[in-house]
Protein backbone atom coordinates (compact mmCIF):
# COMPACT_ATOMS: atom_id res chain seq x y z
CA UNK A 1 0.00 0.00 0.00
CA UNK A 2 2.78 2.37 0.90
CA UNK A 3 4.60 1.68 -2.39
CA UNK A 4 1.46 2.25 -4.43
CA UNK A 5 0.78 5.46 -2.55
CA UNK A 6 4.26 6.83 -3.29
CA UNK A 7 4.01 5.87 -6.95
CA UNK A 8 0.74 7.72 -7.48
CA UNK A 9 2.00 10.84 -5.72
CA UNK A 10 4.99 11.10 -8.03
CA UNK A 11 2.91 10.43 -11.12
CA UNK A 12 0.43 13.02 -9.98
CA UNK A 13 3.23 15.57 -9.92
CA UNK A 14 4.46 14.46 -13.33
CA UNK A 15 0.98 14.76 -14.86
CA UNK A 16 0.58 18.15 -13.20
CA UNK A 17 3.84 19.37 -14.75
CA UNK A 18 2.79 18.16 -18.19
CA UNK A 19 -0.61 19.79 -17.88
CA UNK A 20 0.89 23.07 -16.66
CA UNK A 21 3.26 23.03 -19.62
CA UNK A 22 0.38 22.40 -22.02
CA UNK A 23 -1.65 25.23 -20.50
CA UNK A 24 1.37 27.54 -20.66
CA UNK A 25 1.90 26.69 -24.33
CA UNK A 26 -1.78 27.25 -25.08
CA UNK A 27 -1.72 30.73 -23.58
CA UNK A 28 1.61 31.59 -25.19
CA UNK A 29 0.32 30.85 -28.66
CA UNK A 30 -3.31 31.73 -28.43
CA UNK A 31 -3.09 35.13 -26.85
CA UNK A 32 -0.75 36.35 -29.59
CA UNK A 33 -2.42 38.56 -32.13
CA UNK A 34 -5.78 38.69 -30.43
CA UNK A 35 -7.60 41.84 -29.60
CA UNK A 36 -9.98 44.20 -31.38
CA UNK A 37 -9.30 45.50 -34.87
CA UNK A 38 -7.81 48.87 -35.73
CA UNK A 39 -7.79 51.18 -38.69
CA UNK A 40 -4.68 52.07 -40.61
CA UNK A 41 -4.64 55.05 -42.94
CA UNK A 42 -1.82 55.51 -45.42
CA UNK A 43 -1.13 58.24 -47.94
CA UNK A 44 0.99 57.26 -50.92
CA UNK A 45 2.15 54.17 -49.06
CA UNK A 46 3.11 55.98 -45.86
CA UNK A 47 1.10 55.19 -42.75
CA UNK A 48 -0.25 58.43 -41.27
CA UNK A 49 -2.73 57.06 -38.77
CA UNK A 50 -3.17 53.86 -36.81
CA UNK A 51 -5.87 53.72 -34.16
CA UNK A 52 -8.48 51.47 -32.64
CA UNK A 53 -10.43 54.32 -31.05
CA UNK A 54 -13.72 55.50 -32.50
CA UNK A 55 -13.77 58.99 -33.92
CA UNK A 56 -13.52 61.24 -36.96
CA UNK A 57 -9.98 61.60 -38.27
CA UNK A 58 -9.18 64.25 -40.90
CA UNK A 59 -6.35 63.16 -43.20
CA UNK A 60 -4.20 66.20 -43.85
CA UNK A 61 -1.06 66.19 -45.98
CA UNK A 62 1.09 69.29 -46.38
CA UNK A 63 -1.66 71.41 -44.91
CA UNK A 64 -4.24 70.13 -47.39
CA UNK A 65 -7.16 68.12 -46.07
CA UNK A 66 -7.77 65.15 -48.34
CA UNK A 67 -10.67 63.43 -46.59
CA UNK A 68 -11.96 62.35 -43.21
CA UNK A 69 -12.02 58.82 -41.87
CA UNK A 70 -14.86 57.92 -39.55
CA UNK A 71 -14.46 54.90 -37.27
CA UNK A 72 -17.56 53.79 -35.47
CA UNK A 73 -17.20 50.46 -33.69
CA UNK A 74 -16.68 47.70 -36.24
CA UNK A 75 -17.31 50.04 -39.18
CA UNK A 76 -15.19 52.59 -40.96
CA UNK A 77 -16.09 54.97 -43.77
CA UNK A 78 -14.74 58.00 -45.62
CA UNK A 79 -16.44 61.37 -45.82
CA UNK A 80 -15.71 64.86 -47.17
CA UNK A 81 -13.21 63.63 -49.73
CA UNK A 82 -11.74 66.21 -52.08
CA UNK A 83 -11.66 63.72 -55.00
CA UNK A 84 -14.00 64.51 -57.91
CA UNK A 85 -16.00 61.27 -58.23
CA UNK A 86 -16.20 60.45 -54.49
CA UNK A 87 -15.91 56.72 -55.20
CA UNK A 88 -14.28 56.30 -51.79
CA UNK A 89 -17.36 57.78 -50.13
CA UNK A 90 -19.72 55.76 -52.30
CA UNK A 91 -18.05 52.56 -51.11
CA UNK A 92 -19.90 53.16 -47.84
CA UNK A 93 -18.82 51.46 -44.65
CA UNK A 94 -16.44 48.54 -44.45
CA UNK A 95 -15.87 46.19 -41.55
CA UNK A 96 -12.86 44.21 -40.32
CA UNK A 97 -10.68 43.17 -43.24
CA UNK A 98 -12.20 45.82 -45.52
CA UNK A 99 -10.27 48.43 -47.48
CA UNK A 100 -11.34 51.81 -48.87
CA UNK A 101 -9.17 53.32 -51.56
CA UNK A 102 -9.16 56.87 -52.83
CA UNK A 103 -7.06 56.76 -55.99
CA UNK A 104 -6.90 60.52 -56.74
CA UNK A 105 -5.75 61.31 -53.20
CA UNK A 106 -3.65 58.13 -52.96
CA UNK A 107 -5.24 57.29 -49.62
CA UNK A 108 -5.82 53.75 -48.36
CA UNK A 109 -8.00 53.12 -45.32
CA UNK A 110 -7.69 49.59 -43.97
CA UNK A 111 -9.67 48.00 -41.20
CA UNK A 112 -7.01 45.62 -39.94
CA UNK A 113 -8.27 42.65 -38.02
CA UNK A 114 -5.99 40.03 -36.58
CA UNK A 115 -8.38 37.14 -37.03
CA UNK A 116 -9.12 37.64 -40.70
CA UNK A 117 -10.29 34.55 -42.49
CA UNK A 118 -9.54 36.14 -45.87
CA UNK A 119 -5.93 37.00 -46.70
CA UNK A 120 -6.60 39.30 -49.63
CA UNK A 121 -9.52 40.48 -51.76
CA UNK A 122 -9.77 40.53 -55.54
CA UNK A 123 -11.93 43.40 -56.79
Amino acid sequence: MKRTGNLFRIWDIAILVVMCSAVAMFFCFHTYGEGSGYIEVSVNGEVVLKTSADGVYPVVVNGKRLLSVVKDGEKVRVEDSTCPLKICEKMGTVGPGGVIICVPNKVVVKFVHTNESVDVMTW
Binding site: I10, V17, S42, V47, T93, G97, V103, V120, M121, W123
Partner: protein
Protein backbone atom coordinates in the same frame (compact mmCIF):
# COMPACT_ATOMS: atom_id res chain seq x y z
CA UNK B 1 11.91 -10.27 3.50
CA UNK B 2 11.68 -6.77 4.95
CA UNK B 3 15.15 -5.90 3.58
CA UNK B 4 14.20 -7.25 0.15
CA UNK B 5 11.02 -5.15 0.17
CA UNK B 6 13.05 -2.04 0.93
CA UNK B 7 15.40 -2.89 -1.94
CA UNK B 8 12.51 -3.30 -4.39
CA UNK B 9 10.92 -0.11 -3.15
CA UNK B 10 14.17 1.81 -3.53
CA UNK B 11 14.73 0.48 -7.06
CA UNK B 12 11.16 1.30 -8.08
CA UNK B 13 11.41 4.80 -6.63
CA UNK B 14 14.63 5.37 -8.52
CA UNK B 15 12.95 4.31 -11.77
CA UNK B 16 10.02 6.58 -11.12
CA UNK B 17 12.26 9.51 -10.26
CA UNK B 18 14.32 8.97 -13.41
CA UNK B 19 11.16 8.68 -15.45
CA UNK B 20 9.89 11.91 -13.95
CA UNK B 21 13.17 13.74 -14.52
CA UNK B 22 13.46 12.51 -18.11
CA UNK B 23 9.84 13.40 -18.83
CA UNK B 24 10.27 16.87 -17.38
CA UNK B 25 13.40 17.50 -19.42
CA UNK B 26 11.63 16.39 -22.60
CA UNK B 27 8.61 18.58 -21.89
CA UNK B 28 10.81 21.55 -20.97
CA UNK B 29 12.84 21.10 -24.17
CA UNK B 30 9.68 20.98 -26.26
CA UNK B 31 8.35 24.11 -24.59
CA UNK B 32 11.61 25.99 -25.14
CA UNK B 33 11.79 24.87 -28.79
CA UNK B 34 8.18 25.87 -29.31
CA UNK B 35 8.72 29.28 -27.76
CA UNK B 36 11.96 29.94 -29.61
CA UNK B 37 10.52 28.85 -32.96
CA UNK B 38 10.30 31.94 -35.15
CA UNK B 39 7.30 31.88 -37.47
CA UNK B 40 7.99 33.03 -41.04
CA UNK B 41 7.72 36.78 -40.83
CA UNK B 42 5.85 38.55 -43.61
CA UNK B 43 6.57 42.12 -44.50
CA UNK B 44 3.80 44.24 -45.93
CA UNK B 45 4.57 47.12 -48.25
CA UNK B 46 1.82 49.47 -49.42
CA UNK B 47 2.21 52.00 -52.16
CA UNK B 48 0.63 53.72 -55.15
CA UNK B 49 1.73 52.85 -58.65
CA UNK B 50 0.24 51.37 -61.83
CA UNK B 51 -2.50 53.93 -61.32
CA UNK B 52 -3.77 52.15 -58.23
CA UNK B 53 -3.01 50.90 -54.75
CA UNK B 54 -0.42 48.14 -54.55
CA UNK B 55 0.27 45.78 -51.69
CA UNK B 56 3.29 43.53 -51.44
CA UNK B 57 3.27 40.81 -48.80
CA UNK B 58 6.41 38.70 -48.79
CA UNK B 59 8.56 36.47 -46.64
CA UNK B 60 12.08 35.25 -47.33
CA UNK B 61 14.79 33.53 -45.36
CA UNK B 62 17.46 34.54 -47.83
CA UNK B 63 16.89 38.27 -47.96
CA UNK B 64 15.31 40.82 -45.67
CA UNK B 65 11.59 40.77 -46.65
CA UNK B 66 11.51 44.58 -46.46
CA UNK B 67 14.31 44.85 -49.02
CA UNK B 68 12.59 42.29 -51.22
CA UNK B 69 9.27 44.15 -51.05
CA UNK B 70 10.96 47.45 -51.93
CA UNK B 71 12.70 45.76 -54.84
CA UNK B 72 9.39 44.46 -56.16
CA UNK B 73 7.69 47.83 -55.77
CA UNK B 74 10.51 49.48 -57.69
CA UNK B 75 9.87 47.04 -60.54
CA UNK B 76 6.12 47.72 -60.53
CA UNK B 77 6.81 51.44 -60.65
CA UNK B 78 9.36 51.06 -63.44
CA UNK B 79 6.80 49.31 -65.63
CA UNK B 80 4.13 51.88 -64.81
CA UNK B 81 6.39 54.72 -65.87
CA UNK B 82 7.51 52.92 -69.00
CA UNK B 83 3.97 52.24 -70.23
CA UNK B 84 2.11 55.25 -68.83
CA UNK B 85 0.32 56.69 -71.87
CA UNK B 86 -0.09 60.03 -70.07
CA UNK B 87 3.63 60.57 -69.67
CA UNK B 88 5.07 62.08 -72.88
CA UNK B 89 8.46 60.63 -71.97
CA UNK B 90 7.21 57.05 -71.68
CA UNK B 91 8.09 54.38 -74.22
CA UNK B 92 4.40 53.97 -74.99
CA UNK B 93 3.90 57.68 -75.72
CA UNK B 94 6.79 57.62 -78.16
CA UNK B 95 5.12 54.75 -80.03
CA UNK B 96 1.75 56.52 -79.95
CA UNK B 97 2.98 59.79 -81.45
CA UNK B 98 5.09 58.24 -84.17
CA UNK B 99 3.73 57.99 -87.71
CA UNK B 100 6.46 55.57 -88.72
CA UNK B 101 8.03 52.34 -87.59
CA UNK B 102 9.39 52.50 -84.04
CA UNK B 103 12.19 50.22 -82.87
CA UNK B 104 11.20 48.37 -79.72
CA UNK B 105 13.17 46.96 -76.84
CA UNK B 106 12.60 43.27 -76.21
CA UNK B 107 10.32 43.80 -73.23
CA UNK B 108 7.99 46.16 -75.10
CA UNK B 109 7.88 43.89 -78.11
CA UNK B 110 6.94 40.88 -75.98
CA UNK B 111 4.26 42.87 -74.15
CA UNK B 112 2.70 44.19 -77.36
CA UNK B 113 2.85 40.73 -78.85
CA UNK B 114 1.07 39.31 -75.81
CA UNK B 115 -1.57 42.04 -76.01
CA UNK B 116 -2.24 41.19 -79.66
CA UNK B 117 -2.40 37.50 -78.83
CA UNK B 118 -5.17 38.16 -76.28
CA UNK B 119 -6.96 40.43 -78.76
CA UNK B 120 -6.98 37.60 -81.28
CA UNK B 121 -8.06 34.99 -78.74
CA UNK B 122 -10.97 37.15 -77.58
CA UNK B 123 -11.81 38.41 -81.08
CA UNK B 124 -11.20 41.99 -80.03
CA UNK B 125 -13.06 41.99 -76.71
CA UNK B 126 -9.68 42.78 -75.21
CA UNK B 127 -8.31 45.61 -77.32
CA UNK B 128 -5.17 47.58 -76.40
CA UNK B 129 -5.93 50.32 -78.94
CA UNK B 130 -8.71 52.16 -77.11
CA UNK B 131 -6.47 55.07 -76.09
CA UNK B 132 -8.50 57.65 -78.02
CA UNK B 133 -11.80 56.44 -76.57
CA UNK B 134 -10.49 56.26 -73.04
CA UNK B 135 -9.18 59.82 -73.37
CA UNK B 136 -12.54 60.97 -74.72
CA UNK B 137 -14.33 59.62 -71.64
CA UNK B 138 -11.66 61.10 -69.36
CA UNK B 139 -10.79 57.76 -67.78
CA UNK B 140 -7.11 58.21 -68.60
CA UNK B 141 -6.68 60.83 -65.87
CA UNK B 142 -6.19 59.54 -62.36
CA UNK B 143 -7.35 62.83 -60.87
CA UNK B 144 -10.83 62.12 -62.33
CA UNK B 145 -11.28 65.80 -63.22
CA UNK B 146 -12.29 65.43 -66.86
CA UNK B 147 -14.71 62.51 -66.92
CA UNK B 148 -17.80 63.11 -69.07
CA UNK B 149 -20.28 61.38 -71.36
CA UNK B 150 -19.10 62.19 -74.89
CA UNK B 151 -21.49 62.93 -77.77
CA UNK B 152 -22.31 59.91 -79.90
CA UNK B 153 -20.66 61.64 -82.88
CA UNK B 154 -17.44 61.98 -80.90
CA UNK B 155 -17.56 58.29 -80.06
CA UNK B 156 -18.13 57.36 -83.69
CA UNK B 157 -15.08 59.36 -84.72
CA UNK B 158 -12.95 57.89 -81.93
CA UNK B 159 -14.02 54.37 -82.90
CA UNK B 160 -12.54 54.94 -86.34
CA UNK B 161 -9.18 55.31 -84.62
CA UNK B 162 -9.26 52.04 -82.71
CA UNK B 163 -8.76 48.37 -83.58
CA UNK B 164 -5.97 46.02 -82.67
CA UNK B 165 -5.44 45.08 -86.31
CA UNK B 166 -4.00 48.58 -86.74
CA UNK B 167 -0.91 47.54 -84.80
CA UNK B 168 1.78 46.20 -87.10
CA UNK B 169 4.57 44.20 -85.49
CA UNK B 170 7.74 43.41 -87.42
CA UNK B 171 9.25 40.37 -85.74
CA UNK B 172 12.41 40.38 -87.85
CA UNK B 173 13.38 43.94 -87.00
CA UNK B 174 11.57 44.06 -83.64
CA UNK B 175 9.62 47.21 -84.37
CA UNK B 176 6.03 48.44 -84.45
CA UNK B 177 3.90 50.82 -86.46
CA UNK B 178 0.45 52.16 -85.67
CA UNK B 179 -2.09 52.79 -88.42
CA UNK B 180 -5.20 54.99 -88.61
CA UNK B 181 -4.14 57.27 -85.76
CA UNK B 182 -4.75 54.67 -83.06
CA UNK B 183 -3.38 55.15 -79.56
CA UNK B 184 -2.29 52.20 -77.50
CA UNK B 185 -3.43 51.98 -73.88
CA UNK B 186 -2.04 49.00 -72.01
CA UNK B 187 -4.19 49.52 -68.92
CA UNK B 188 -5.79 46.10 -69.42
CA UNK B 189 -2.54 44.15 -69.42
CA UNK B 190 0.38 46.19 -68.03
CA UNK B 191 -0.74 45.63 -64.45
CA UNK B 192 -0.72 41.88 -64.99
CA UNK B 193 2.64 42.04 -66.69
CA UNK B 194 4.08 44.09 -63.81
CA UNK B 195 2.81 41.52 -61.29
CA UNK B 196 4.41 38.70 -63.27
CA UNK B 197 7.69 40.60 -63.38
CA UNK B 198 7.52 41.08 -59.62
CA UNK B 199 7.03 37.33 -59.28
CA UNK B 200 10.03 36.61 -61.54
CA UNK B 201 12.28 38.96 -59.62
CA UNK B 202 11.20 37.56 -56.27
CA UNK B 203 11.97 34.02 -57.42
CA UNK B 204 15.33 35.05 -58.87
CA UNK B 205 16.32 36.56 -55.54
CA UNK B 206 14.96 33.71 -53.43
CA UNK B 207 13.32 30.70 -55.09
CA UNK B 208 11.77 29.76 -51.74
CA UNK B 209 10.21 33.11 -50.93
CA UNK B 210 6.45 33.19 -50.38
CA UNK B 211 3.66 35.74 -50.32
CA UNK B 212 1.74 37.67 -52.92
CA UNK B 213 1.70 40.97 -54.81
CA UNK B 214 -1.54 42.86 -55.33
CA UNK B 215 -2.24 45.79 -57.62
CA UNK B 216 -5.76 47.19 -57.57
CA UNK B 217 -7.34 43.85 -56.74
CA UNK B 218 -5.25 41.83 -59.21
CA UNK B 219 -3.14 39.31 -57.32
CA UNK B 220 -0.03 37.32 -58.23
CA UNK B 221 0.87 34.57 -55.79
CA UNK B 222 4.60 34.37 -55.11
CA UNK B 223 4.47 31.28 -52.94
CA UNK B 224 2.16 29.43 -50.52
CA UNK B 225 1.27 30.90 -47.14
CA UNK B 226 3.97 29.87 -44.64
CA UNK B 227 5.36 27.69 -47.42
CA UNK B 228 2.54 25.15 -47.41
CA UNK B 229 -0.93 26.64 -47.25
CA UNK B 230 -3.02 28.32 -49.97
CA UNK B 231 -3.88 31.99 -49.63
CA UNK B 232 -7.55 32.65 -49.04
CA UNK B 233 -8.79 35.18 -51.59
CA UNK B 234 -12.21 36.76 -51.26
CA UNK B 235 -14.03 37.78 -54.45
CA UNK B 236 -15.64 41.10 -53.68
CA UNK B 237 -19.40 41.37 -53.96
CA UNK B 238 -19.97 44.14 -56.55
CA UNK B 239 -22.89 45.49 -54.50
CA UNK B 240 -21.45 45.26 -51.00
CA UNK B 241 -17.88 46.08 -50.12
CA UNK B 242 -18.12 44.01 -46.95
CA UNK B 243 -19.26 40.82 -48.61
CA UNK B 244 -17.72 38.19 -50.87
CA UNK B 245 -19.46 36.29 -53.64
CA UNK B 246 -16.94 33.50 -53.35
CA UNK B 247 -13.57 32.40 -52.06
CA UNK B 248 -10.53 31.12 -53.88
CA UNK B 249 -7.64 29.12 -52.46
CA UNK B 250 -4.45 29.74 -54.40
CA UNK B 251 -0.91 28.65 -53.63
CA UNK B 252 0.34 29.69 -57.07
CA UNK B 253 -0.86 31.54 -60.15
CA UNK B 254 -2.89 34.71 -60.30
CA UNK B 255 -6.36 36.17 -60.13
CA UNK B 256 -7.76 39.40 -61.57
CA UNK B 257 -11.15 41.05 -61.40
CA UNK B 258 -12.70 43.71 -63.61
CA UNK B 259 -15.67 45.49 -62.07
CA UNK B 260 -18.01 48.37 -62.87
CA UNK B 261 -17.42 49.82 -59.38
CA UNK B 262 -13.70 50.54 -59.72
CA UNK B 263 -13.87 53.80 -61.63
CA UNK B 264 -17.20 55.28 -62.59
CA UNK B 265 -19.44 58.30 -62.52
CA UNK B 266 -23.20 58.66 -62.59
CA UNK B 267 -25.15 61.00 -64.88
CA UNK B 268 -28.98 61.07 -64.79
CA UNK B 269 -29.00 57.87 -62.80
CA UNK B 270 -26.84 55.98 -65.33
CA UNK B 271 -23.54 54.56 -64.20
CA UNK B 272 -20.68 55.05 -66.65
CA UNK B 273 -17.65 52.94 -65.80
CA UNK B 274 -14.18 52.65 -67.28
CA UNK B 275 -14.35 49.27 -69.07
CA UNK B 276 -15.29 50.22 -72.61
CA UNK B 277 -16.76 47.92 -75.22
CA UNK B 278 -14.47 48.16 -78.28
CA UNK B 279 -17.48 47.63 -80.56
CA UNK B 280 -19.73 50.39 -79.22
CA UNK B 281 -17.30 52.80 -77.58
CA UNK B 282 -19.55 52.88 -74.50
CA UNK B 283 -19.06 51.14 -71.15
CA UNK B 284 -19.72 47.42 -71.53
CA UNK B 285 -23.11 46.40 -70.11
CA UNK B 286 -24.61 43.31 -68.56
CA UNK B 287 -21.87 42.35 -66.12
CA UNK B 288 -20.99 43.79 -62.74
CA UNK B 289 -17.74 41.93 -62.23
CA UNK B 290 -15.60 39.35 -64.00
CA UNK B 291 -12.98 37.38 -62.08
CA UNK B 292 -10.41 35.22 -63.82
CA UNK B 293 -7.96 32.74 -62.29
CA UNK B 294 -4.94 31.87 -64.44
CA UNK B 295 -1.39 30.66 -64.16
CA UNK B 296 -0.04 34.14 -64.93
CA UNK B 297 -1.24 37.62 -64.03
CA UNK B 298 -0.98 38.76 -67.66
CA UNK B 299 -3.52 36.12 -68.68
CA UNK B 300 -5.80 36.83 -65.72
CA UNK B 301 -5.67 40.60 -66.32
CA UNK B 302 -6.33 40.53 -70.07
CA UNK B 303 -9.00 37.82 -69.89
CA UNK B 304 -10.87 39.48 -67.02
CA UNK B 305 -11.30 42.60 -69.16
CA UNK B 306 -12.44 40.49 -72.12
CA UNK B 307 -14.75 38.43 -69.88
CA UNK B 308 -16.36 41.64 -68.62
CA UNK B 309 -16.91 42.93 -72.17
CA UNK B 310 -18.20 39.63 -73.59
CA UNK B 311 -20.01 38.34 -70.50
CA UNK B 312 -23.08 40.50 -71.02
CA UNK B 313 -23.49 39.27 -74.60
CA UNK B 314 -22.58 35.60 -74.38
CA UNK B 315 -21.73 34.41 -70.91
CA UNK B 316 -21.82 30.72 -71.92
CA UNK B 317 -18.99 31.31 -74.35
CA UNK B 318 -16.97 33.11 -71.68
CA UNK B 319 -17.30 30.53 -68.92
CA UNK B 320 -16.91 27.52 -71.20
CA UNK B 321 -14.37 28.74 -73.74
CA UNK B 322 -12.01 30.94 -71.72
CA UNK B 323 -10.62 27.96 -69.76
CA UNK B 324 -9.19 26.71 -73.08
CA UNK B 325 -7.06 29.87 -73.08
CA UNK B 326 -6.06 29.31 -69.46
CA UNK B 327 -8.61 31.56 -67.74
CA UNK B 328 -11.17 30.17 -65.28
CA UNK B 329 -14.03 32.62 -64.93
CA UNK B 330 -16.58 33.81 -62.38
CA UNK B 331 -19.10 36.38 -63.63
CA UNK B 332 -21.61 38.37 -61.60
CA UNK B 333 -24.23 39.75 -63.96
CA UNK B 334 -26.50 42.78 -63.57
CA UNK B 335 -29.19 40.60 -61.96
CA UNK B 336 -26.63 39.18 -59.52
CA UNK B 337 -26.59 35.77 -61.21
CA UNK B 338 -23.25 34.07 -60.76
CA UNK B 339 -21.88 32.19 -63.78
CA UNK B 340 -18.78 30.06 -63.32
CA UNK B 341 -16.44 27.94 -65.38
CA UNK B 342 -16.77 24.35 -64.14
CA UNK B 343 -12.97 24.28 -63.93
CA UNK B 344 -13.03 27.05 -61.32
CA UNK B 345 -14.14 24.56 -58.68
CA UNK B 346 -10.51 23.38 -58.42
CA UNK B 347 -9.65 26.74 -56.86
CA UNK B 348 -12.72 26.93 -54.64
CA UNK B 349 -11.76 24.02 -52.42
CA UNK B 350 -9.30 24.39 -49.58
CA UNK B 351 -6.70 21.74 -50.32
Amino acid sequence: MRARDREILLRLNKEVVWLFVTGSVVVATLVVLFLLRTPPSYYEYNGFTLGTYCRIYVSSEKINPKSLAEMLFTELDRIYKKYNANDPESVLSKINVSQDWVDLDEETFVLLDAALKFSNITEGAFDPTLGNLIHLWGFDQLDEQDVRVPDSSEIEVALLHTGYKNILLDRQKRRAKLLNGIHIDLGGIAKGYALDRAYQIAKEVDPDCTGFVEAGGDIRIIGPKFGSRPWVIGIRDPDDTNECVGYLYLDSGAVATSGDYERYFIVNGVRYHHILDPQTGYPARGIKSATVVASTAVTADALSTAAFVLGGKNWEYVVLDFPKSGGHVLLVDKDRNIRKSPSLSVYEADR
